[in-house]
């Protein structure tokens, strides 16, 4: 009896401490995430004010409009572009991360710094740099023409491929870093014992390294997919404004159409979709965890 009371006291105190540690983060999330999200949800049920803002006339029309094929096709195209970017980031990022783990440790640090180095300069400037490189009068085209490889410049920019390229370049470090940190934690004795027990290196890689790196791959994929699907600068600059992504669509509803309620529905559906993605990631993670 006494004993269990004592345990309650301790767990109460522990709970209290946990709450205190979490308080700054929770307050931050409540003020800058939950309340704005509440406002967003609240707005979705009302009518557009002619000059911005909302008129408080209840409607479900905004939700109906979001199902219009025009907006669904924009969403599908965005998913396609973000997914392509994520897959390419994985295909390029995994070998890079794997190779880094095989380097001597001081070289590993240098490589990691080099990978985050692009973040030291402004994102917009780096995006404009691609235009300078790839436009028909740019370095690449003119260089190849001068070398006699081409007689006509290639149209490398202002298409969905250029958008994928820009997003891939911008976000690939976010794929490499989590994969690296997952790979570097794998105990080398695991693969060694597998090989000693007769596994080939390919088998050891597929059955030990890859599954153990999976949580890192998932985190990296989310880190690349989420900012890619919401990006509206790259479609505008490298896509030449000829492809619309969800980010552009939402921004235009708020700023150009002054249709806050409809913009809120679109923004909310993005939040919902990303939430589903996080839940999926957590599920897969848990399954991997329980198997290991």
């Amino acid at each position: 009896m006494l004993k269990s009371q004592g345990r309650d006291l301790i767990s109460n105190r522990a709970r209290m401490a946990r709450l205190i540690y979490l308080a700054p983060g929770l307050t931050y999330i409540a003020i800058f995430m939950i309340i704005p999200l509440g406002i967003l949800i609240f707005y979705t049920f009302f009518t557009r004010g002619t000059y911005g803002g909302v008129d408080f006339i209840f409607t479900l029309e905004n939700y109906r409009r979001a199902l219009d094929w025009l907006y669904l096709s924009v969403l599908l195209e965005s998913i396609l572009i973000a997914a392509t970017t994520t897959i390419l980031a994985f295909l390029i990022g995994f070998p890079v991360a794997y190779a880094i783990t095989k380097l001597p440790s001081n070289w590993q640090n240098i490589m990691l710094v080099l990978i985050v180095l692009p973040f030291w300069s402004n994102f917009l400037i780096r995006t404009y740099a691609w235009i300078v490189l790839l436009n028909t009068q740019g370095f690449l085209n003119q260089g190849l023409i001068n070398l006699g490889v081409l007689d006509q410049p290639l149209s490398l920019l202002y298409n969905p491929g250029a958008i994928v390229l820009g997003l891939l370049y911008a976000y690939i470090p976010l794929m490499i870093l989590p994969i690296y940190s997952a790979l570097v934690r794998i105990d080398p004795s695991l693969t060694e014992s597998a090989i000693n027990l007769g596994a080939t290196t390919t088998q050891a890689f597929r059955q030990i390294t890859l599954p153990l790196a999976l949580p890192g791959v998932l985190v990296g994929s989310i880190f690349v997919f989420v900012p890619s699907i919401g990006n509206f600068i790259v479609p505008e600059l490298l896509g030449g404004g000829k492809t619309v992504m969800v980010g552009n669509l939402i921004r235009d509803q708020f700023l150009k159409a002054r249709d806050w309620p409809f913009g809120s529905v679109l923004a909310l559906s993005m939040v919902f979709m990303l939430l589903m993605l996080f839940i999926l990631q957590a599920r897969v993670n848990r399954r991997v965890g329980s198997n290991g």
Partner: protein, 365 residues
Amino acid sequence: MRNSSKGMLAIIASAALFVLTGCGGSGSSSAKLDADADLASQKLTVSIWAAYSPEDLPSKFEEKFGTKVTITNHATNEEVMAKLTAGGDSGIDVAFVSGQFAQALAQQGLIENLDKSFIPNSANLVPEVANLTYDLGNKYSMPYAWGTTGICYRADLMKGNEPTSWNDLLMPKPQFKGKVTMLATERWLMLPAQKALGFSANTQDESEMNQVKDLLIKAKANLLAYDDTTFYERLVSGEAVMVEAWDGWCNYGIAKNKNIKFMVPKEGSDLWADTMVVLKSSKNKEAAHAFINYILDKDVHSWVVDNILYKVPNSAAMEKSLPALAADFPNMTISPSELLKGEGLVDLGKAAPLYTRIATEVTAK
């Protein structure tokens, strides 16, 4: 669990309350200004496009009137509109917005009717400014710069095929396909097709706008890109030969390459104006009026002509600056009466979502 969901509800409810109260109340009364107000005790926050006013403007104004001026920058009309219409006090006293946006702000009761007796330099303005359709008689806005939209092109690369019509831009000859850009901002995205089809640039007619949409979708196949910011650079590099452009921006290209020319298509074009407005929420209205008056001084206002290469509707400032620029930049000599032949852009009100939808349909195609 129950507790936490109750807490959530409370948060949402209080957020809703916050929004409701934040958006309340907007009457329409004219400013009552105090002629003896101490300007040195007032502070001004001015929102303007980056690099659109002299860098030393705040210090010069403070030197003269003792008022501390803070400049904040916005990239687009839409951005500053979002700040000004978000409810509550934006903290901005004077905002620079295009005419149709000044009109929208006035409709919402967010800006003050100006007291001209505090803006004696408004006498420098050309009489034509009273006919600007977004604000007849300049009740709530003072024009800062104005101009029109046309085609900016490389005369050397288009010899014998110089554009004369919006159709030359929308349906370029085969050798120019893929070397054309159009403006991306909705109103100017629509303008070439609206004018080519003989419609008003302010049309709210859905069937007219559907024809505009069809034409723009056809034109998209011939475009290099939609571009609001670097189109003149593309002419300089030769990546493009012909771009839809605002007159002043074409001048930046002309400054780098004399083969670049500007023309207004025969179907006509728009008349745009950037204006200065005073927010109703401002507590520094005397200083705000003094600031606008200071801008309209010929020596201050001519800075825009000399450095931005925009026309200003200020006859004193134009007389001062034009002689040095007229030869190099012919579009600077477009007279006020010629400019007024262009159709003034007015706010679309309820039709704004129609334009956004069509812009999305065109660009997402």
